[in-house]
Symmetry: C2
Subunit: 443 residues, 2 copies
């Protein structure tokens, strides 16, 4: 079957999914878990074969670890399925409701997007999560996993797809692609595919974005900032800088750049024996193993060599390195973040609510934080339940994206024979009364 034919069948499945009730979707997710447990041996066997080949091919230890799908990973996946099943159905939520006139009621109701392509790198447990997110949100899905995990992915999809069918999901609700050529072709099929969700390295996401005309939801860069305002509490500033950088430096929500107000930088910190703020911050970060890349002015204050010029501050280290820059005002900090940041997540450490509010309003990022670590930018920590990924695009969904980001809405109008001619002629007039909303439609 060609990729185009597969996509056309996927689109038909998406249409057939539009009317699925919560019970069918939750039964499907339960069936995935049952299928995984009873088919575990096949999955482990396929995974052993993938691992053996990857080892022969010299895959690095961290990548081998990500590739492994063993009993603990299976239990994690099953627990994730149970948590997802427990979340409220994202479809059928009444987002707004208005009585246009007597017997003419308009409701804006959440509904599935349609056919979503999810493309991810080596972790096979992502296949379980992606399939379940698609099922719960009523979307059909085309999945493409990493080549190293081909056997594991085939075994997983071989369990999950029929389990979903048996529970009542439509034929072709899940399609597994296996080759890069198929993905390349898929990126051009905007007639069938409504959305692409790539998960992987920034180079991977950027290459998908560059090649597709279909909307892509993801993030390419994570250039997050911590800005220490003039009136910041020093101990809090150091704690937040260290956590934002060092708690897990390889993640997209780890901070890469520390902006320090020159007033804070010079002010003595009593609890640190009166040493200046910039030294206190530098000591704290270095004690956590962070190597600093200094701008000329911060270097001068610390009596060291500068390694950052006035040039490009769009740096994403993804390891224990952090760039440090002195700024002379809140305005300069905001302008720097908007110019060099990646619109992901940025934090101000400040005592002044007024300064914090300006930073939060005027920094143009998906997450704007006051006195909290940038590492909180995550769907689980936000309380969204399962996370699709993080979006640095501005349209549709922004920041950590939960099930809601896999839904759109439609306008449902229920009348009793009303015609526009009567309103155009003035025979009838719109009432436009707001109705209560927020609840779900009855099934």
């Amino acid at each position: 079957m060609t990729t185009k034919e597969k996509a056309a069948l996927g689109k038909r499945a998406a249409e057939a999914s539009l009317g699925l009730g919560s019970a069918v979707k939750d039964a499907a997710i339960e069936a995935f878990a049952g299928g995984l447990r009873s088919g575990a041996a096949q999955v482990f066997e396929a995974n052993e074969a993938d691992l053996a080949e990857a080892e022969r091919g010299g895959l690095s230890a961290p990548l081998l670890k990500r590739l492994r799908f063993d009993a603990p990973k299976l239990e994690d996946s099953v627990a994730g399925l149970a948590a997802l099943r427990a979340l409220p159905d994202p479809v059928g939520r009444i987002l707004s409701a208005r009585k246009l006139d007597e017997g003419l009621e308009l409701r804006q109701v959440s509904c599935p997007i349609g056919l979503i392509a999810m493309i991810f790198e080596s972790r096979p447990d992502a296949l379980v999560q992606m399939s379940a997110l698609a099922a719960k949100s009523g979307n059909a899905v085309i999945l493409k996993g990493g080549r190293e995990a081909a056997r594991t992915n085939r075994a997983l999809a071989g369990i999950i797809y029929p389990a979903g069918l048996a529970a009542g999901l439509p034929e072709h609700w899940l399609t597994l692609l296996e080759s890069r050529e198929e993905v390349a072709e898929l990126l051009g099929l905007d007639e069938y595919v409504d959305l692409i969700v790539p998960r992987g390295s920034k180079e991977f996401v950027a290459s998908i974005k560059a090649r597709s005309r279909i909307p892509v939801m993801g993030h390419a860069d994570g250039i997050c900032h911590v800005y220490v305002h003039e009136d910041a509490e020093a101990a809090m500033a150091a704690r937040l800088a260290v956590d934002s950088k060092a708690q897990n430096p390889a993640t997209c929500n780890a901070a890469e750049v520390l902006l320090v107000h020159s007033g804070f930088a010079r002010r003595p910190v009593p609890e640190a024996g009166g040493e200046p703020g910039i030294r206190f911050l530098a000591d704290s970060l270095e004690a956590a193993g962070v190597r600093l890349e200094l701008c000329p002015r911060s270097a001068e204050l610390l009596g060291r060599e500068a390694s950052m010029g006035e040039g490009d501050w769009a740096v994403e280290y993804l390891d224990l390195r952090m760039a440090v820059k002195l700024v002379d005002s809140l305005d300069e900090a905001i302008a720097h973040v908007n110019r060099f940041g990646s619109k992901h997540t940025d934090c101000i450490v400040a005592s002044s609510a007024r300064a914090a509010r300006r930073f939060m309003d005027e920094v143009d990022s998906a997450g704007v934080y006051w006195n909290a670590s940038t590492r909180f930018a995550d769907g689980y920590r936000y309380g969204l339940g399962a996370e699709v990924g993080i979006s640095t695009g501005k349209l549709h969904a922004r920041g950590p994206v939960g099930l809601g980001g896999l839904c759109t809405y439609k306008w449902k109008l229920e009348g009793s024979g009303q015609i526009v001619a009567d309103y155009a002629s003035g025979a009838r007039h719109f009432k436009h009364e707001e109705l209560s909303h927020g609840e779900r439609e009855e099934e």
Copy 2:
């Protein structure tokens, strides 16, 4: 100045607009109205010159009418500004709120998108409306109007831009482009432009979509359906078919295709002397001046010639013509709409709530109606206030788009020094308590 430089300045203006309060934005809209009144003579003079040239160039009477900007049009524009000013500020709405832990509160807050390019055809009053929509939603805007209206647009922008500046909008909040070459260049500037909103013919919108990598919000086709179910009330079906087609056939929400259940088509209509349903519908439409294009089965029932084959039903007449097709089931009707429709607005006429619900759930369109004319698909009729346009895309905004569609959201997290390490270690646990929301942030 190059288009790229203009876009870069527009982007800077968008950043400077992020912190604007409601008072400044509403004062700007009031200043536009005052400026239009006091500068009316210049605008009329410019418009006379545009009209004279268009007349010499042989522009058709309907287009000349759209091009005219005279005292009544000015009063309409001023009234539109007053209505827009009275709407609530779409920015700063708290869409969701959650206490992650004591002293750690997360709010999802609506905010402007950034720099929006609005490209429209000949109507110069669109410039007033677009500028005001941008100002109210806190976005910077790049406008390009029709060539025929160049002098009028220049005069209008020459009033509105400085009026906005004087009220407190940032420099370059509005940029007027004048040439097609500039628009072509603009479509590639995804680094600066967040969204393109085209308004005009479907060919116009399709050509913008085909040439741009920037997200485009608009609709290309309006292929709307009225489906008359087996149990429809005949008088209501005829009334809705006539209004959906004939109330204003040149609009995108006018219906193009009438699907008739074969049971309804054959059933005698008592109030029409027992003539069959299909004849009753045909008579009603023809009495309203509609020419019918019949499928073979409906033609046979009516004893006429068929003009529609089994082929392409994706027809958009935009005049007093309507295609008619017999179907044998609700499923067939839904499948037909999903296959040939344009995901705009589709209506079922039915007595059965069950059939209506299935149609509304399973038809994959921005608007799904039960017993109401498709012509209701309009921002004003929906009670959205001013309308940006109608979107047939599925992401971000769908159907009639009001000020809300010119906004996105950001996540604002306010803490008191919390770090992720404490939650990762188990020293602290998330509470994830929902907080009340729906209101606006304090300014």
